[in-house]
């Protein structure tokens, strides 16, 4: 039986690893390659690596922030793929088929697109035809408004689209996406648990795997995400700030009766 996956998400900004809160606050927490080695040694199920650097903005106070375009992150990808015998999904600032070629040839198994998929949805069709659906993840960032309405946002959570997540998820599936990374903006970094209604709505609207992300504060939150309909549960912060985060996360899932790879 296919096992439910537990996935650490690493966030890269200006070439450094960061933690994120509400998509706005980013604190530097470490070395981008060392963390991957650690996860590889822990034998984790797979890894998502997202570069959230803004295309046109650099931190001018620091002279080590020289990241421009995809080049520097790709050097990190080179280093990462040499130590990583687990599946790796690379996302962030991928705009063209050529960017994707670069990522795959350097060792990514899947690529994740978000804003580019919204701006030119045809990119999903082209990439799925070229690389196969199984290699194309569409990342969907969702904001829940005060009245409970959900809306897809792009540009790292800055630009509203007017689309509901269910509608957009169905469209990306029809265009050939093989997986959805579903992120809740208003739960990001809060530790309040996943947005379970959102996960339920998007997984029932589609028949491709949904990876839930955003809000995990306790290991018990993972099982709720799976029960709500996710095929895999992802988190970022909890992997950095707790001991034995893979072992304990898996144990909590197994204890809840969910089949995982131990």
């Amino acid at each position: 039986m296919l096992k439910k996956r537990l996935i650490p998400v690493l966030l890269l900004k200006n070439g450094l690893l960061v933690r994120s809160e509400l998509f706005r606050i980013h604190q530097v927490i470490g070395d981008p390659v060392y963390e991957v080695k650690r996860f590889n040694e822990w034998n984790v199920d797979e890894l998502f690596y997202l570069d959230i650097t803004k295309d046109d903005q650099y931190d001018l106070r620091r002279n080590d922030h020289k990241v421009k375009g995809l080049d520097t992150p790709l050097l990190i990808l080179d280093a990462v793929s040499q130590t990583c015998f687990m599946p790796l999904t690379w996302g962030g600032r991928i705009r063209t088929i050529d960017d994707m070629h670069q990522c795959f040839s350097r060792g990514a198994d899947k690529i994740a697109i978000n804003t580019a998929a919204f701006r030119s949805p045809e990119l999903i069709n082209q990439s799925a035809k070229l690389f196969g659906s199984q290699a194309i993840v569409v990342s969907i960032d969702v904001f829940r408004h005060i009245d409970g309405r959900t809306e897809v946002l792009v540009d790292r959570g800055c630009t509203p689209t007017g689309l509901t997540p269910e509608h957009w998820a169905r469209e990306v599936e029809q265009r050939g996406a093989g997986e959805i990374l579903l992120q809740s903006i208003d739960r990001d970094g809060t530790g309040r648990g996943y947005d379970l209604d959102l996960i339920g709505a998007v997984s029932s609207a589609t028949s491709i795997p949904v990876v839930a992300c955003g809000g995990v504060g306790r290991y018990e939150d993972y099982a709720d995400g799976i029960r709500a309909g996710a095929s895999a549960v992802a988190a970022a912060n909890i992997w950095h700030f707790k001991e034995m985060s893979d072992r304990n996360g898996k144990r909590a899932l197994a204890k809840a009766g969910i089949e995982v790879r131990l």
Partner: protein
């Protein structure tokens, strides 16, 4: 020994090479079909669509050399993911395509009416071994490997199947036929169990 990884422009060759390096063999990634003549073992990886894959093999001149070295000279061969599917007779991915026909069988999309069975089949799934030596030497009766695919190869002759997996349907996870081995999953991404599969392939190629 000299291990050659066929680079026909389909996918993630660096990961496959890195994994072989981790088990003590430095492979050569080659764009030149003539390199297969000097090879002791041949690896055909591949990510992407069936039709494109076969077209690239043909246009770049791999098909005849592969046939000569693997089918006639019986060199050890390992196909990975798309590299396994391409061995079949036909595929229905996007439209009907002819394959290499080394293993009689059809490549078809995974179908299921169960909404819990999501396609693509992505993640770790158990493979139960029907041939316990070969690639699975030292790995017991079953192991979890990482899968990432929507299509599967259904061989006509069930005796070529060396491992079975289930996702809505039971399907062939790996093949062993004389000097031809192939896996639908990605051993290069399956941590320790996957590295052992590659190690076993090397041991059989020596």
């Amino acid at each position: 020994m000299k291990l050659v990884i066929v680079d026909y422009g389909m996918g993630n060759l660096q990961s496959v090479a890195n994994a072989f390096r981790a088990v003590g063999c430095v492979p050569e990634i080659s764009r030149n079909p003539q390199d297969l003549k000097m090879a002791d073992g041949i690896v055909l990886p591949g990510v992407g669509a069936f039709g494109d894959g076969l077209k690239k093999l043909r246009v770049e001149g791999w098909i005849d050399v592969l046939g000569e070295e693997v089918r006639h000279k019986n060199k050890p061969f390992l196909g990975l993911c798309l590299g396994m599917q391409l061995l079949g007779t036909t595929s229905t991915e996007h439209s009907l395509h002819a394959g290499l026909n080394w293993i009689s069988g059809r490549v078809e999309r995974i179908r299921s009416d169960d909404p819990a069975i999501r396609v693509p089949h992505i993640g770790w799934n158990d493979v139960s071994f029907t041939k316990k030596n070969g690639l699975y030497s030292g790995l017991g009766d079953s192991q979890a490997f990482y899968f990432m695919h929507s299509y599967v190869l259904y061989p006509e002759d069930p005796t070529v199947i060396s491992g079975l997996c289930s996702h809505g349907i039971e399907f062939c996870a790996s093949i062993e036929k004389e000097n031809i081995w192939a896996t639908q999953y990605h051993p290069e991404k399956s941590q320790k169990a996957g590295l052992r599969v590659l190690q076993n392939f090397l041991d059989m190629s020596r």
